[in-house]
């Protein structure tokens, strides 16, 4: 992104430092009183999230910061997006398409939602198809969305078999070679990856982003 002025740098700093109230006040002032370009403000939000992601990787930030950052971005986005004039900016080019869902039998979604959010703000076109997703629904959604990466999420041990079945069905449908498959969730490890036939597993949202970047050739 182009160089930031002092005010813009301040917004990025406050967002990255979890200073929610100050960041919201400043973003609102910029957008609603000073007529700042909403696309520019969203760009600043993404810059702040890059810092949050780095601090997470470096062990300075943890899940609470990812969750709070997500909410700050949503709040600012809700103010900024209606101000974008028609035809302006348009959709930014996406790094790749990721389809994600919790496998059948499992109703957990906290981890999946954080992964979806992190992929989204890192520039991926994410389609989250929810929880307890039957194998057939994965096949239908994959055919419609044509993803580069499929993410299977699951917290319970029953998810090991659900993931294995889902991947086997994708193989049977002749779809398996068209995308990479990553898995994640509380009990997932290399043993489960090998058991299910997934390409990789991740233990947190940043690992998921890095896997997708690696597979789609996007620079970090």
């Amino acid at each position: 992104m182009s160089e930031m002025n002092e005010q813009e740098a301040q917004l990025v700093e406050w967002l990255a430092d979890m200073r929610e109230e100050e960041a919201h006040e400043l973003a609102n002032r910029m957008l609603l009183e000073e007529g700042a370009d909403p696309l520019r403000v969203l760009e600043l939000c993404r810059a702040a999230m890059d810092i949050v992601g780095k601090r997470f990787e470096e062990g300075e930030y943890f899940l609470p910061e990812l969750v709070l950052a997500g909410e700050m971005l949503e709040t600012i986005g809700a103010v900024a997006k209606p101000l974008i004039k028609e035809g302006e900016g348009g959709a930014a080019a996406k790094l790749g398409r990721v389809l994600i869902g919790t496998v059948h039998g499992d109703l957990h979604d906290i981890g999946k939602n954080i992964v979806s959010f992190m992929l989204d703000i890192n520039g991926f076109d994410v389609k989250d198809i929810g929880i307890d997703v039957p194998v057939n629904k994965f096949i239908e959604e994959i055919n419609a969305f044509q993803p580069d990466v499929v993410g299977l999420s699951g917290f319970l041990t029953l998810a090991f078999d659900s993931m294995k079945e889902t991947i086997a069905a994708l193989e049977q449908e002749g779809l398996r070679s068209k995308f990479k498959i990553m898995i994640g969730g509380g009990q997932i490890d290399e043993t489960v990856r090998a058991y299910t036939g997934a390409d990789a597993f991740g233990v947190n949202a940043v690992e998921a982003v890095n896997l997708c970047r690696g597979w789609t050739g996007a620079a970090a």
Partner: protein, 424 residues
């Protein structure tokens, strides 16, 4: 000479076996080496698979549930057994109370799926003050109606605090409301189901004891932070509160620590068993920073641990996920008073840090138990024995969180056999 446990005869042999098994666990907790490494039997739905019944039957059919769990215990001969009936055969009770925090077979999930918790915001951040001012009032009028359908009429109850003289009668008019009466009728019926559940639990414990097998823990509790995070604020609400409502949150945690410590001591005394199982959900390394852990999570829990220890109880927290970075902090308790059960934390590493402070329990990985071969399970047990037990460690063998539901029976047998083969 034989005796009786309730209506069940206990042979002298069974009594000796019971005493020896219980002593193995208690000796470990005191950091004294028992004659052999104790092994626990802890699970939720695995006994259904073992005995060939559905998960729904395990949750609803008291007799079938007692049979499959007792069969499993008799075959495996564990040193301590989780109160499996209280843990799993809860379908009728959940139904009668119209419990809203779980989905279970017939109520949102299929007959062969485990119950699953619904992470929601059951208390708003703005309600911290209400809770702090009058926890019991908050429970009666707000919390219980939100989590138990049978309490829905209670939102109409009067506020009791402040009532005096004739006001103690004038103020009672809401009790005559149809919705409040209906609530009371449903609560009585639901409480009767809880009584039935406990009668089956006590019968099951007596049969287990008569056969020579003690419970590994008599009761269960939860850490103050986890109660608020899981059962009140919900996961994302709580994470945001660490920034948005930090002072209020600390006050609530401190208050909850006192409340839950008293309740835990009372429950353990009723159960007549010193060991209290405490599954820990929010301590993992990834869930908050070391600073947040030491500021929010640990102080109210340490206070609870100390209260329990003073009451001669043996806390047995099960530290879920990976808590490697917490080891030095959670070491700050008196030696020989607790059993720390670790899920994904390397147990050998935990032994290096905590071996002179607490007994350990765990921790064969769920992926190994469910997808591995018996010989791999055997090797994993040998690894723990070589690196902990044979080095003088006091540990109780178990799965990372007991036996996962889908574990092949041969892998469970391999776990128990390997314990006997390598550690007495």
């Amino acid at each position: 000479m034989s005796g009786f446990v309730g209506p069940y005869e206990q042979t002298a042999e069974a009594k000796a076996a019971y005493d020896a098994r219980m002593e193995r666990i208690l000796a470990c907790a005191r950091l004294e080496r028992p004659d052999r490494m104790p092994v626990g039997l802890h699970s939720f739905f695995w006994p259904a698979n073992y005995g060939g019944i559905t998960y729904k039957e395990l949750m609803y059919d008291y007799d079938k549930a007692k049979k499959v769990t007792l069969d499993a215990a008799m075959e495996l001969e564990p040193d301590g057994v989780y109160p499996l009936i209280l843990g799993s055969t809860i379908g009728r009770m959940l139904e009668k109370f119209e419990f809203k925090q779980l989905q279970w077979p017939g109520h949102g999930v299929g007959d062969m799926q485990p119950f699953q918790y619904l992470d929601r915001e059951y208390m708003k951040a703005e309600e911290y003050d209400d809770f702090l001012f009058d926890p019991t009032g908050f429970y009666l009028q707000k919390y219980l109606p939100r989590v138990l359908g049978v309490f829905e009429g209670f939102d109409k109850l009067p506020r009791f605090a402040g009532m005096h003289y004739l006001r103690t009668m004038y103020g009672m008019r809401p009790f005559a409301l149809p919705e409040v009466r209906a609530s009371f009728e449903k609560i009585v019926a639901a409480a009767e189901e809880t009584n039935t559940l406990f009668a089956h639990h006590i019968d099951w414990v007596q049969r287990l004891k008569a056969a020579g097998f003690p419970l590994a823990n008599g009761s269960v509790s939860t850490s103050p932070y986890d109660i608020i995070a899981d059962y009140f604020r919900g996961a994302t609400g709580m994470m945001k509160d660490l920034y948005r409502h930090k002072d209020k949150l600390k006050q609530v945690l401190d208050k909850m620590s006192t409340i839950v410590t008293r309740m835990t001591i009372e429950n353990a005394r009723l159960a007549g068993h010193p060991i209290v199982f405490i599954p820990i959900h929010w301590a993992p390394d990834a869930f908050m920073s070391p600073k947040q852990f030491e500021e929010f999570w640990w102080p109210p829990f340490r206070k609870m641990l100390m209260g329990m220890i003073e009451a001669d109880l043996i806390p047995m927290p099960m530290w879920e996920s990976d808590c490697t970075k917490r080891l030095e902090v959670i070491k700050d308790i008196p030696a020989g008073k607790c059993i720390y059960w670790f899920e994904r934390t390397d147990l050998v590493k935990a032994y290096e840090v905590l071996g002179d402070r607490v007994a350990l329990r765990g921790n064969l990985s769920p992926s190994l138990l469910t997808t591995g071969k018996p010989e791999e399970v055997d090797a994993a047990v040998k690894h723990l024995v070589d690196n902990i037990w044979n080095k003088g460690g006091c540990m109780m063998l178990d799965g990372a969180f007991g036996i996962p539901d889908e574990t092949p029976v041969d892998n469970v047998r391999a776990m128990f056999n390997a314990a006997r083969k390598y550690a007495g």
